[in-house]
Symmetry: C2
C-alpha cells in the first residue's frame, strides 16, 4: 500500500523499458525528479492526459499503438498551443507485469517520441487497473502560443486533415452501426483511432498566423465550442465542408458518418481560426507542414455555434461531442 515509487522490481521495470537517452535533460529518469532547462525567452507549455482502459481505449489494443497514442494525445496538445514538445513523464498502472506488452508499449511510445525529439524524463509504474498518465512539457516563444481565446468576428474557421475516421474505427471495433467500408478503409479508420498522428508541425507553422487553435479530441463541434466560449464569439459552420477521408468520402450521406464528422472524438486534428486576410499564409503554413487544411466556416459576433448545410439552411447535430461525465 505505501508510496511505492521506484523500489526493486519496479525500478528495474523502468530501467528495462523506459530509460531512453535524454540528451537535452540535465538529469533524467532515476532521481526524485528530472532536472531540465528551457531556452531563454520561452514559455513552458504543460499538459496532462489520463487514458483509462475501457474508457479511452479497448483493453486489448495493440500495446505498440497504445504506447504511440498515449504520447500522441499529449503531443497533440502541444500542437494545439503551437508549442514544441520537449519532455514527457509517464505514469503507468498495470494489472501485472507482461514483459512482451511492456516492450511493445515502450517501443510504440519511443518511436513517436523520437520523431518529435521528445525525451521521457520521468516515470512511475505501479500495480492497478490499466491506465496511462502522460504529462508533456513543451516550449513556445513568449506571447506566441496559440490559445483558445483569440478568435475574432471575421476570422475563418479551419480544420486540418480529415474528421470522423477515429469514431468510425471505434464503431467498427465495437460492432456499432457503421458504413460498409472495404477492408483497407476499415483498417485506415482503426489506425486513426489507435495511432493518431499529432499535427505538431502544423501547430508550429501556424504561430503568428492562427488567432486561436485547439485539437479535435472530443469532437469538432464540441471542441470548436470551447474556442467560441473562451473567445466570446460565435461561428457559422458549413457542415458539407467538413473534410472526410478517402475511406469515408463515399459515405458522407450516411447518418453515422455525418455524426462522426461533427461529433466523433479522437481525431487529433487541429481546429483553428485565422483572419480572412491570412488565408494564403494558412495555406503556406499547411504546405510547409505537409498537411491538408480546409476552410469550414467563419467566426461571427453572436454567441453559439450555427451549423448550416450547403444552401445555408440551419442543421441540428445529433451528437456534438463526448463527455465522460455527461
Amino acid at each position: 500500500m505505501p508510496g511505492g515509487r521506484q523500489a526493486g522490481g519496479e525500478f528495474s521495470l523502468i530501467a528495462r523499458h523506459f530509460t531512453w537517452p535524454t540528451p537535452s535533460a540535465d538529469l533524467g529518469v532515476g532521481d526524485d525528479a528530472a532536472l531540465l532547462r528551457l531556452a531563454p525567452d520561452m514559455q513552458l507549455a504543460v499538459s496532462t492526459d489520463l487514458l483509462v482502459a475501457g474508457t479511452h481505449f479497448l483493453a486489448d489494443t495493440d500495446p505498440g499503438r497504445l504506447g504511440h497514442k498515449s504520447l500522441a494525445v499529449n503531443l497533440s496538445d502541444m500542437a494545439a498551443m503551437g508549442a514544441k514538445p520537449r519532455f514527457a513523464t509517464l505514469a503507468l498502472a498495470l494489472p501485472s507485469v507482461d514483459e512482451a506488452w511492456l516492450a511493445g508499449f515502450s517501443a510504440g511510445m519511443r518511436a513517436l517520441a523520437g520523431q518529435h525529439g521528445t525525451e521521457l524524463v520521468g516515470g512511475d509504474t505501479t500495480r492497478g487497473p490499466l491506465s496511462i498518465c502522460v504529462t508533456i512539457l513543451g516550449e513556445v516563444p513568449v506571447g506566441r502560443a496559440l490559445r483558445r481565446d483569440g478568435a475574432r468576428p471575421g476570422d475563418e474557421v479551419w480544420v486540418s486533415g480529415t474528421l470522423g475516421d477515429a469514431a468510425i474505427g471505434l464503431a467498427l471495433l465495437t460492432g456499432s452501426p457503421a458504413p460498409a467500408l472495404d477492408a483497407a478503409g476499415a483498417a485506415a479508420c482503426i489506425r486513426r483511432l489507435e495511432a493518431p498522428m499529432p499535427q505538431v508541425a502544423l501547430g508550429l507553422a501556424l504561430r503568428g498566423i492562427a488567432s486561436a487553435a485547439l485539437d479535435v479530441s472530443d469532437g469538432f463541434a464540441a471542441d470548436l465550442g470551447h474556442v467560441l466560449e473562451r473567445s466570446g464569439v460565435g461561428a457559422r459552420i458549413e457542415v458539407d465542408r467538413l473534410p472526410a477521408s478517402p475511406a469515408l468520402a463515399p459515405f458522407v450521406g450516411h447518418p453515422v458518418v455525418r455524426d462522426a464528422l461533427l461529433g466523433g472524438g479522437d481525431d487529433y486534428e487541429l481546429c483553428f481560426t485565422a483572419p480572412a486576410a491570412a488565408a494564403g499564409e494558412v495555406r503556406n503554413a499547411a504546405a510547409l507542414a505537409g498537411v491538408a487544411v480546409t476552410r469550414v466556416g467563419c467566426v461571427v459576433a453572436d454567441g453559439g455555434l450555427a451549423l448550416v448545410d450547403g444552401e445555408g439552411r440551419p442543421l441540428q447535430p445529433a451528437r456534438t461531442g463526448f463527455d465522460h461525465f455527461g
Copy 2:
C-alpha cells in the same frame, strides 16, 4: 471511448472543483496547455506520481486527506531535490461524480498547495477506477539540486522526523499485527499515513549542505539503497538510532515496529548525506526548517548497506521496502 478531455460536464467539474487562482502562471486551467515561466538561471524539476485505490490508499480514505496526500507525495519529491515547488497538474479517474467527495478532495489538495505556494495549472478528469496522477514542477538554482548520486565515503547519513509511523498506521487500519498503541498514538500514526507532511522547507535549507538526498517513500533501507547505488558507495546504519515518534518509542523492541522503522513506506521524511564536517550546518538547516534530524550512520566506500546494532553487530532486516512488482 474518445479522448474526452474537457467536454461538457467534465469541463464544468474542473471549473467547479479544480480552478483555483494561478497568479504566477501566464495561462492556467482551460486551454490545451498551461503556459508558465520560470525565473532565469533556474533548472526545472519535474516529477510524477500515480496513486491507485487499493494499491496506494484504501478506497474509503477521507477525501480531504487523499487530496492532501496526492499532492504531498509530489511535494516530497521536490523536497528531496531541494527544489521549490511551483506548479502542479492533476489527472483524476473517478468511478462516478460524487460532489461531496470532490469538494473534500479538492479542499485537502488546495490547502496543502496554498501552504507551499504551489498552483494547480492543468487538469484532466475521466471515468475509471479511482486513481490520481499528479505531476509537479519546481525550480532550483542551476547546479544546486540535491541528487541521489552525491554521497561520498566519510559522509554521515541523516534522516528527518520519525520513521515507521505510516506503516504502523496502515497495519492498524488493515488489522495487521501491530503494537498496542493508545488511541492518540494510533490516530497519530494513521494521520502520518493519510496526511503526510512533505519536508519542503528542510530540502530548501539543505541546498549546498547535503551531498545527496531522497525522500523515504518505500522504506528507509530500500530508499537509502538507491542513494548508495547511484553514488557507488556503501553505508553502515546503526538501527537503534532510527528515530521513532512518541507513539512508537515505547514499542521499538516490537518486531513489527523494528520492521516499520527500517522498511515501512510512506513516511515522506528526507534521508540525506552530508560531510561529517557539515554536521553543524545540517543542524542549523533543520532548526531553520523547524524539523528534527537524526544522524543514523555513515557512508563507506564498500558497496552495500550494513545494518548494525548498538554494539556494532550486523543485523539482517526482515523487510527492506515495498515493491509493487516484486
